[in-house]
Symmetry: C2
Subunit: 239 residues, 2 copies
DNA sequence: CGAAGTATTGACCCATTTCAAAGCATGTGG
DNA sequence: CCACATGCTTTGAAATGGGTCAATACTTCG
């Protein structure tokens, strides 16, 4: 069951069986998309939203010279562009990192859900707010941390999120990003990311090679990153 | 009518008269709060959410040494911590900048609204997504712009938002922030903010003195900031 | 084997920070 | 009405983190 993934591991807000079924019935199609492919363009009027089932996608904005700034990285179970449902257009682009599998939901289906299932609607809403909480953490990372802290913070976040869904264990996980990608996420240059990774490796905190991340000392890394993971566990309750 | 302010000027999503009335009836209390006072602390369990009626508030996170990073500035008509309704706790602090007037809504009232008025619920949801869109713009600002661009971008955003609600005209508006506050918003030091402001003044783009902002050349400032205001006008439609 | 993307390293440069001091308002109590 | 404290703004000089440019290796993969 595909809809099962939605919100899996996030807080303790798994869906009820009925809600899973409602969502499952709303799936309009399931698609595979290859790596490094844009799936939504900023400004497009869109009629469907995308639940990520397998793989990684990112959201980003371009500056005047075409340089990207990543604003989010999504992992399986994330409803990538659900916010496009109330907003209708996106202010940014979305692209796959590695190859992915996604489920598409038409907005009129979602509209029906909001009219009939306020409880499920609140969970959909909640999931968009988790994204906003991550945005805030990214603002903090860029505004207050130096290069080492930023890289460390990003890896801490991804590790925590992937652990929740069983895709990381013991600080180890696969991540289809290159060093330039990390630079786009952290507001650094590719060259400097390389140097920072070397330092982190030499300090035996972390290795990153060919998409394989090994966090060697989670405590020290979290300290360097000033990482506090509560924001990932929204404490939604159902009033 | 207090609820009238909510979403005023944002896109064209003003509320219907019925919706305004529903919201108006939901107001539990109206309070005045003096300048520079914390109104919500990170991690607190909260039962009410706050609509800003007059004045400015900011949201921020502290780093290990207690330095703040602002993650949002709110203007009248913003539902400051509506996201606390689905989330129950905040991951950050909220404080007033100048003195403010706020309206408080109990979460059980909002809960009733979500059960009876899906249409209004979607607008509430939408307003939290506008905040998320602003977060993304802040990520872009910090990740891709230099000091001048960041300051310019922040002023462009505030100018645009205040114009929508009739609090800015001709690039002029009051803003109860100090230079250190600007530093906390832009990830710079107070000293450097001062130097950047001097440069912007010398280039006749902008003056900022004692809380009074005068944007002298909106075009040039927007260009320097790589500012594109579409994100402020969510294009919500009602499916 | 060659091509293209990815990773690595060095040298130099510049934006921003840091540290330090002084100048200005504003408000309070004597 | 003055004295003093407090917080904001301004400026200078020195230190530094990260950027830029340029060259070289390492991997896949066709």
């Amino acid at each position: 069951m595909i809809s099962e993934k939605f919100l899996m591991g996030r807080g303790r807000h798994e869906l009820s069986n009925e809600e899973k079924q409602v969502l499952e019935d709303g799936i309009e199609s399931v698609r595979q998309v290859p790596a490094r492919k844009q799936i939504v363009r900023a400004g497009d009027l869109i009629e469907t939203s995308t639940l990520l089932i397998e793989g990684f996608v990112c959201r980003y904005m371009d500056d005047r010279e075409g340089q990207r700034q990543l604003v989010a990285v999504h992992v399986p179970g994330d409803f990538v562009d659900l916010h496009a449902f109330p907003m209708k257009r996106l202010d940014h682009d979305i692209a796959t990192l590695g190859p992915v599998k996604i489920a598409c939901f038409e907005h009129r289906t979602l509209q029906t859900i909001t009219e009939r299932y306020p409880h499920l609607t609140k969970k959909l809403w909640f999931s968009t707010l988790l994204d906003a909480a991550m945005h805030r953490e990214w603002i903090f990372r860029l505004g207050r941390l130096g290069a080492e802290g930023r890289i460390a913070h990003l890896f801490c976040e991804l590790n925590a999120r992937l652990e929740m869904i069983g895709m990381a264990e013991d600080g180890q996980f696969m991540l289809p990003m290159t060093q330039p990608d990390l630079a786009e996420a952290t507001g650094l240059t590719g060259v400097h990311v390389n140097r920072v990774l070397r330092v982190l490796r030499e300090r035996e905190l972390l290795t990153f090679k060919g998409g394989q991340v090994c966090i060697l000392d989670q405590q020290k890394l979290a300290k360097l990153a000033e990482f506090e993971p509560q924001y990932l566990y929204g404490t939604h309750t159902d009033g």
